[in-house]
Symmetry: C2
Subunit: 440 residues, 2 copies
């Protein structure tokens, strides 16, 4: 079966379509985002069990592309790529974990955290970047002239782009606002050999220049506007389906900033639904920081569009976004899944992170936003005790040591540090240590 995915206007303003290797990032007619569209009728022509069994078989395969949690589902991702186009660093296959303490904390019988930070560069961004960079290699293999890939970024995106393009041996250009990010955030793309350029401007200034570079054909644009990344992130839904015994959960809780991931996970489940593999779509609970809450405001005020806000400073830095790129995509997902939006204060973020860490689960600030939102929805009985709930953990908390240290040393401004951990200094005296331990 020859399958072909193409780019189409997300707003359906035209029946035009574009090849995945075309350098088109928005609809030339209406300026809307684009979306990858799959040949649904062809996919449907297979018996329902066909896809399920196909993907299961690949989980037992030793081929590198089959072992990827993205490319195992290649017919649902970008079917026309050849095996030799694919650039994989073993992404996906992130575990779903739970503990007895977690269930007690939420009073939810069936709650798991899907650890999407268990990816090569430490965040779910790898899922999208393997797709984008593989398509770039596909285009280069087909004779297209792509000299470099590029993005404006301050964190996870640049790390993922730099690693995958290094693996593909394609040069990458990263534009960053000077002096606004830590050495720790800088060092991943620098180590990967990217051309990292710190500019005397803010993130929006970087974005403007990278867009011009893309428009002039100097670089291929890797920012989340590019619809290809959604196709990789979509596989979170396919993995969840398999991990949850070929079912969708009742709820998926997602930290929400630029909103690409929220749309991607919906899009994955939507495809499973259309193919008859699940009976209903999971409801989305999109969790925003109160400091950067344009989606929450749109939801609360029942608006059909998102009004940009000025994002205020939040500990959840990766979702500190006032004007989300994938606004339109996420509103569609919310509507179709009967979804809801919660906002979380900085205090709520800190309380959730510290409480959940003590249950054995070390979580990043963004995941803490999602966990706090889930707790709030449970307390209002919107999420019920018997519901099955998946919380998406977006990044490895090892990227956020500073946040953890500041919390446990009570250094975060205007926050009650109610759940700090224990560090005791003692002389190397057995009896004194024994006494301290017995007292605890």
């Amino acid at each position: 079966m020859k399958l072909l995915a193409v780019l189409k206007c997300l707003s359906n303003c035209t029946s035009d379509s574009w090849d995945i290797a075309d350098r088109v990032y928005e609809c030339p007619h209406c300026g809307s985002l684009l979306d990858i569209v799959h040949p649904l009728e062809q996919l449907k022509s297979q018996p329902r069990l066909f896809w399920k069994n196909n993907f299961k078989a690949r989980r037992l395969s030793f081929e590198q592309n089959d072992q990827s949690g993205v490319w195992r589902y290649r017919e649902f991702v970008i079917p026309q790529l050849r095996s030799s186009d694919i650039v994989t660093l073993g992404e996906g296959n992130s575990p779903c974990v739970t503990t007895a303490g977690l269930k007690d904390y939420f009073k939810i019988d069936d709650i798991v955290i899907k650890l999407c930070g268990n990816n090569y560069t430490g965040s779910f961004k790898d899922l999208g970047m393997t797709v984008l960079v593989s398509v770039v290699r596909h285009a280069i293999n087909a004779g297209k002239n792509i000299q470099a890939v590029g993005c404006a970024s301050t964190g996870d995106t640049s790390a993922a782009l730099a690693a995958y393009s290094a693996a593909a041996q394609v040069p990458s250009v990263i534009l960053l606002p000077k002096n606004k990010i830590s050495k720790a955030q800088l060092i991943q793309p620098i180590a990967s050999g990217a051309n990292v350029i710190a500019l005397d401007t803010d993130f929006d200034g970087c974005m403007e220049i990278i867009q011009r570079l893309a428009d002039s054909g100097i670089i291929y644009l890797a920012n989340s506007k590019n619809a290809l990344r959604i196709e990789g992130q979509k596989t979170i839904a396919f993995e969840l389906f398999e991990q949850l015994d070929d079912k969708a959960p009742d709820w998926i809780v997602i930290p929400s900033g630029n909103l690409g991931n929220s749309y991607a996970i919906y899009k994955g489940f939507k495809l499973l639904f259309e193919l008859g593999m699940i009976k209903k779509l999971p409801r989305l609970l999109l969790a925003q920081a109160e400091q950067a809450n344009p989606l929450y405001l749109a939801y609360k005020n029942k608006l059909n569009t998102i009004e940009p806000v000025k994002a205020k400073s939040t500990l959840a830095t990766a979702i500190q976004i006032g004007n989300p790129v994938s606004a339109k995509r996420a509103l569609l997902a919310l509507k179709e899944t009967n979804g809801i939006v919660e906002q979380v204060s900085e205090q709520g973020l800190c309380d959730a992170a510290a409480s959940i860490d003590k249950l054995g689960l070390y979580v990043c600030p963004h995941t803490a936003i999602a966990l706090s939102a889930a707790k709030a929805a449970r307390e209002k009985d919107i999420i019920r005790q018997s519901d099955s709930v998946v919380v998406i953990s977006t990044a490895n908390a090892l990227k956020f040591t500073e946040f953890k240290v500041n919390y446990h040393t009570e250094k975060i401004k205007d926050i009650n540090h109610s759940y700090t951990g224990s560090l005791t200094e003692l002389p190397a005296d057995y009896d004194k240590i024994l006494k301290h331990i017995e007292k605890k």
Copy 2:
């Protein structure tokens, strides 16, 4: 089939055996380390394909314990545990990755890196800790009085113990040398709610006190002396067997310090060999830092024991060990696999880390030791171009941001920084940026 694993003297001085839940950490007769022994004849009584198919079937299961890369192999780990004893955080299932650049760099056609840092707390230690903490829960469920688990540690071990014991709701005690470790290393166990005690002594002083606390029955000892941890780490071999199309590779390259992991991976392959599942054992290449090389010296001088050395400062902090606990275990593994030992200088470590990072693979300093050793063995043609080679990556490089930053800012003393990455500062001027990109 009722299978029972027991503790026995590693030196075979006695036919005595001990229950896995007994608090015995060394042979009471000869003082040797203990080893978990499995009922080999019973395992052998099954047809060869039985185990293979059994484990494959579990990779398609949605049960939490089956989804663990350790407990999927439970008959080969600790078979007598009940499902409810098991404390899992989705450990294992770490990918094997490779890139075209990596193969070119080594001039080896078939080389992969197994990313054991893709575990919950960011290192392979999780594999052993899930076993140790599950046995603790098994013992508690059986009515044994264990009030806390404990270890002396400065890094990965404490993070893993604290997370798994928090998940098991068992208190943990961590002894650390005061002022000798960074906040970043401290913060994982503190966040997990462990009783973290910083002592006015060095690591050996902490070890002495934790041993006394264990001997008095105050804590259950979780340091690597405890044979249970080997059983979890052993599963790296089982996963590799499956990932490499039901074969063993020709070579396994392992960063080697305390030597528990070197023994564990050998022990896993040895079991597969005894069951007829593989035809030959892989050869071990154990890689040591020149600054902490007691195994290398023993190997070079053809000794039957390891003479402790004073470990000097190395960037590979986790293997800065002069008197390895599992010395006897590792010598056995070397002998049985016709293994070799290489040592690597600090310069070699830095060169390997920076060169391999540029190929898209972000590696920790210990993994760099292994990679440099593999390169040396290849250059001497001990490893041949057509050999299949697996390099074990032990920890997530996100734990070593400081090392990366120091390298790329040329701040590591007495090191040539030959492969630093690129960071350029520019004004937000399109033409200047374009010129810079075109020049590169």
